[in-house]
Symmetry: C2
Subunit: 131 residues, 2 copies
């Protein structure tokens, strides 16, 4: 860390998470992050780091920033009234369906790649054995 205990500057986070400062500022612009300011400079705390990690995980999964915002916002939604809670449950179901579709796609792709690899190794073995 580059500051008082438990706080980080933008370059610290950028380095740690392997992104540029520009990217982090861009995410803030899009409402994905909201760090404290200390004399104009951004100061990140633990919860900001967690949010950034969530955003980057969403990115690895191929979600758009809008989708990521929707997901991350579910995490720290305040309880609220019954209607809100039911709405949130509905949104979660939608995301769940999406994620499970992705897992199916993913498992299929993995299985097929394995099949190709097996075919590959078979062929190699045959080659080495002198056809």
């Amino acid at each position: 860390m580059g500051m008082g205990t438990g706080t980080w500057r933008i370059a610290d986070l950028a380095c740690e998470f392997g992104v540029t400062a520009r990217t982090i500022r861009f995410y803030e612009d899009k409402g994905l992050l909201a760090p404290r300011r200390e004399g104009g400079q951004r100061v990140y705390e633990a919860r900001d780091r967690v949010r950034l990690a969530l955003v980057l995980r969403g990115r690895r999964l191929g979600f758009s920033l809008d989708e990521i915002a929707a997901i991350v916002d579910m995490y720290d939604a305040e309880p609220g009234e019954a209607g809100q809670l039911e709405y949130l449950l509905g949104q979660i179901d939608i995301r769940r369906a999406d994620l499970e579709q992705r897992r199916d796609d993913l498992d299929q792709t993995l299985a097929e790649l394995d099949a190709v690899a097996t075919r590959c190794r078979d062929h190699l073995a045959r080659l080495r054995a002198g056809s």
Copy 2:
């Protein structure tokens, strides 16, 4: 199908897979598809459909078209010589690692969404029970 048995026109595929004809032509431009031509018009056969399905699955997974091209090309790579086979096996390993990282991310996200949902339902129950 809109033509002789086992062949389709571009609009047929577009409708069936829920994309526009423009998208299909774009994929061809990028080398992801290579349909037969019949008097200037594209004619798709079963293998073209399979390839399109693979491309769209890759898209759902959030891969770029370049990555998709790399993956799909592994599927119908000809055996070739030993060097080629070893290179292909290496590429497959890289893809595998990527896909497995994604699955980890995915499972974590699913688990966390479930946790949120559970919290949500608990709160709802407490609300209905009169605080």
